[in-house]
């Protein structure tokens, strides 16, 4: 990438109609200045955020990298505000070959009174016919409900809720009304892929049916990520979920019925320092134990046999980082993951 060029408009006490007009005019202006700036859009992202924390959200959006939304509408909620102020910027990043990539950003300052009907402000500002993702990282459930009238996708991060069971119920509330992209679920994607790959060879596949213990290690603030991973295992392996009990340490444990025998499940909180999962251990009734834990260069894997022999190796992969997670969420908004809903249902049965 090289130079970035912006066309900016702002107004106080404005209307959605004026904001939309400004968007159109800025697009014409940018296109006139840069003929290579041809809009080709795939997605709207509408975020409702605390004004106080909007800088942090802006920083996260800047780090999403190549999976950017085409048009981002950020509604900054400010206590006591009764009128709309807005800033519109149409920016182009020049890339190779004379092409320019367009980022359209609309920031609207709104008050709490606007939230129950926030869709009436946002609807004129999104690109018609494109899928719209609604994201409300600081709460404001009434705004998210209102946005669902015209949004097809809800972006959540279930680890944001203090209580795991509440987080899962909140996600379930949206599942029937929209496609849910849950960043807590996406944090488990590499783990699910690695587990699926590890047990793919026929000689190992049978071990899945002999599992007797599963332990998931997660950041202390991310039990939801662990529950969703267990929910996925429960759904895929036909376990009957039953509620895990929480110990004073924060660990959760319990037993579920599998087709052949009971499986003991444990969620073990540790101080990872970043949201998500840290590791997992699976044991079979035959005494085989497989562990995978985050480490340099990927997941450090250990397989122990009943006789005590061990095999250690690295399952290669670099961390995507938290910026990568949000970008992946935006990319997933274009896809549809049929596994989330059944995993969520099973996770609710465990929580």
């Amino acid at each position: 990438m090289s130079d970035k060029h912006d066309s900016v408009w702002s107004a106080r006490d404005t209307t959605p109609e004026a904001i939309e007009r400004a968007l159109r005019e800025l697009l014409v202006e940018r296109h006139a200045e840069e003929p290579g700036a041809a809009p080709a859009r795939v997605l709207n992202l509408v975020a409702v955020v605390d004004r106080e924390w909007s800088g942090e959200i802006a920083n996260r959006l800047r780090r999403v990298g190549r999976f950017h939304p085409s048009r981002t509408v950020i509604c900054q909620v400010e206590p006591g505000r009764t009128q709309l102020d807005a800033t519109v910027s149409v920016a182009t990043d020049e890339v190779t070959g004379g092409l320019s990539l367009i980022h359209e950003l609309v920031i609207v300052n709104v008050g709490p009174q606007h939230l129950p009907h926030i869709e009436s402000i946002v609807d004129p500002l999104v690109v018609t016919d494109l899928p719209t993702v609604a994201w409300s990282p600081h709460g404001y459930p009434e705004a998210l409900d209102a946005l669902l009238h015209n949004s097809q996708i809800v972006l959540l991060d279930s680890i944001d809720e203090p209580e795991a069971a509440d987080a899962l119920r909140r996600a379930a509330h949206f599942v029937d009304r929209a496609v849910v992209v849950d960043l807590a679920w996406l944090r488990s994607t590499p783990w699910r892929e690695r587990l699926a790959a590890y047990f793919d060879p026929p000689v190992l596949r049978n071990e899945l049916r002999r599992l007797s213990e599963v332990t998931i290690r997660h950041d202390a603030g991310s039990p939801v990520a662990g529950l969703l991973l267990l929910g996925w295992l429960a759904d895929r392996l036909g376990w009957e979920p039953s509620t895990l009990l929480q110990a004073p340490s924060g660990a959760m444990s319990g037993t579920v019925r599998a087709r052949r025998e009971d499986v003991h499940l444990t969620l073990e909180p540790i101080d990872l320092g970043v949201p998500g999962l840290s590791g997992l251990t699976l044991r079979t009734a035959d005494g085989v134990c497989v562990s995978m834990d985050r480490g340099a260069g990927g997941l450090h894997a250990v397989r122990s046999e009943r006789d005590g022999t061990e095999d250690r190796w690295t399952i290669m992969g670099a961390s995507r980082g938290e910026g990568g997670i949000l970008g992946e969420g935006i990319r997933q908004a274009l896809l549809r993951d049929p596994l989330y809903q059944p995993a969520l249902s099973a996770a609710i049965g465990l929580a």
């Binding site: 080709a40 190779t96 990539l101 260069g297 290669m316 596994l339």
Partner: protein, 512 residues
């Protein structure tokens, strides 16, 4: 084995995963110290490792003639990866990729080297506690392909109980129909066709796969995709650079073998094929082969009227004086190798009968571009008066650009603002990069992963490669028997004037 221990019908954990599991694999690169390995294969492996896309257990073995210790081989691999990787290297991932990499020194016909290789592969299996799949990647001079395949067979390495063995073969797959048949015979004497993955890296490009998406995911164009609406098709793969230091390879190959026989015919088949029943390897390749089968190979008498070859002469390219081909280092004084090839082909089937397909490729042309231009038939009746009104009405042209900027453009007739009804063409452009901010994976990343997974959709099948040669062979042999010197074209130009002679009716070459 009891009923309870019977192999489950499928992996219950892989359902709907975006990245499907790949069996634990050991990849053996023959020609590991070569240019392709260093520039493409090793960086592709690193990027797969970085993304977590390699199998959960993966080992790398290099085999070449040079004498190297394992640690020196690892250092050379690391250096190549740092130099040519498309993304910044994570040292820990790189170390994990190479920590157990091994090197086998030996001539490719050295029986002992294959015994050594076999014991290394067995060691990896023992460490993993399971038979690992084996992928042999032949990245050597083509003359070694049958030698290596034969030795692998003799060493008992073409099969492996409990895991798959696959053989990836780089291009060129023969330099004539006879050679391609011989090579297929040698390869298929050792491996089953389902084990063989013939690389045409064009098929690994996202842009080429987008051709299939464009055709089969958009209903609006398919009704027009036939002889009733399409007037002619031009496929262009032009480069603005000369042969550089590649005279040794290029003078033995020429433009037709370098690009037309493989890449350009792939584009033609993807453009012309019927919708496959499914996107499985054989369904897709069956349809591609049918297209090739419908192209009549020219007789030697027909070759001069349907094809043109030429060499670039001196000129000005990108503002700099440019050498002619015959003045390039390493080019023989009597070279008759073409740096430009153009031809007109006909696909003789219900859909395409009568539509001319023009293919052209060349070095040191005006611009670097790979595109497919589809010119539609003109409107049947011109309603606008000819007094300036209809003069600008031109047939619609749909251009699918593969490089440098992947996208689709469609020319439309539009009214020029003013009081008169004056029509001129305007371009409606869609550029993939503006929609997806794409940082596409390298073609080799996709292809290596597909080969390890056993998905041959993006590889050339034995009958496909022979059909490609069946079409091109008469042109190659007629040219070989026709004395030079060849026509020349100015460096930095649109190509030789002689190329106009193969156009029919009112057709004109598009400006490069």
């Amino acid at each position: 084995m009891s009923a309870a221990d019977a192999e489950p019908p499928s992996n219950p954990l892989d359902k709907a995963l975006e990245r499907l599991p790949v069996h634990p694999t050991t990849l053996v690169i023959f020609g590991a110290s070569g240019d392709l390995a260093k520039r493409k294969l090793l960086p592709a492996l690193y990027n797969l490792a970085h993304e977590g896309a390699l199998p959960v257990r993966f080992n790398l073995v290099g085999m070449s003639r040079g004498e190297l210790r394992d640690d020196v081989f690892r250092e050379e691999c690391a250096e190549a990866i740092r130099r040519f990787s498309r993304r910044a290297v994570d040292d820990a991932v790189l170390a994990a990729l190479l920590v157990d990499a091994r090197y086998v020194q030996g001539n490719f016909d050295d029986e002992q080297a294959y015994a050594t290789l076999g014991s290394i592969l067995d060691d990896y299996d023992a460490t993993a506690g399971q038979p690992m799949a084996r992928a042999f990647y032949l990245s050597t001079a083509p003359g070694f392909f049958p030698v290596i395949v034969g030795e692998l067979g003799r060493a008992g390495l073409a099969t492996h109980e409990g895991a798959k063995v696959r053989c990836v073969i780089e291009k060129p797959f023969g330099t004539s129909l006879a050679e391609a048949k011989d090579l297929n015979r040698d390869v298929l004497a050792v491996f089953g066709e389902e084990q063989v993955f013939r690389i045409d890296h064009y098929l690994g490009k996202e842009t080429v796969q987008n051709l299939l998406a464009f055709r089969f995911a958009n209903g609006m164009f398919e009704p027009l995709w036939n002889r009733n609406f399409i007037d002619n098709v031009q496929i262009t793969a032009s480069e603005d650079i000369g042969i550089g230091t590649r005279a040794g390879y290029y003078d033995g190959a020429g433009a037709l073998r370098d690009l037309v026989q493989n890449h350009m015919l792939q584009l033609l088949t993807l453009l012309c094929m019927e919708p496959p029943v499914s996107f499985t390897a054989d369904d897709v390749r069956d349809e591609k082969v049918k297209v090739l089968h419908a192209i009549a190979a020219p007789t030697s008498d027909e070759v001069p009227e349907m094809s043109v070859r030429a060499q670039y002469g001196t000129g000005v390219s990108a503002g700099e004086d440019a050498l002619g081909y015959m003045d390039e280092d390493g080019v023989p004084a009597d070279s008759n190798t073409e740096t430009y090839a153009a031809m007109r082909l006909s696909v003789r089937n219900w859909r395409w009968s009568g539509v001319p397909f023009y293919l052209r490729t060349g070095k040191r042309l005006a611009r670097k571009v790979t595109e497919i231009a589809i010119t539609f038939k003109p409107v049947p009746h011109m309603a606008f008066d000819e007094d300036g009104g209809s003069a600008g009405v031109l047939p619609n042209v749909l251009v699918m650009t593969l490089q440098p900027n992947e996208g689709v453009s469609l020319s439309l007739g539009a009214k020029i603002p003013g009081t008169r009804m004056r029509i001129r063409p305007v371009m409606m452009e869609f550029l993939y990069g503006t929609a997806f901010l794409s940082q596409s994976p390298e073609a080799y990343e996709r292809l290596i992963l597909d080969a390890m997974r056993g998905d041959a959709t993006l590889f050339t099948r034995n009958d496909e490669v022979e059909e490609q040669w069946r079409v091109c062979d008469p042109i190659v042999s007629t040219w070989a028997q026709t004395p030079g010197p060849l026509p020349t074209y100015e460096s930095g130009s649109q190509g030789p004037a002689e190329a106009d002679a193969i156009l029919v009716d009112e057709d004109r070459w598009r400006a490069i």
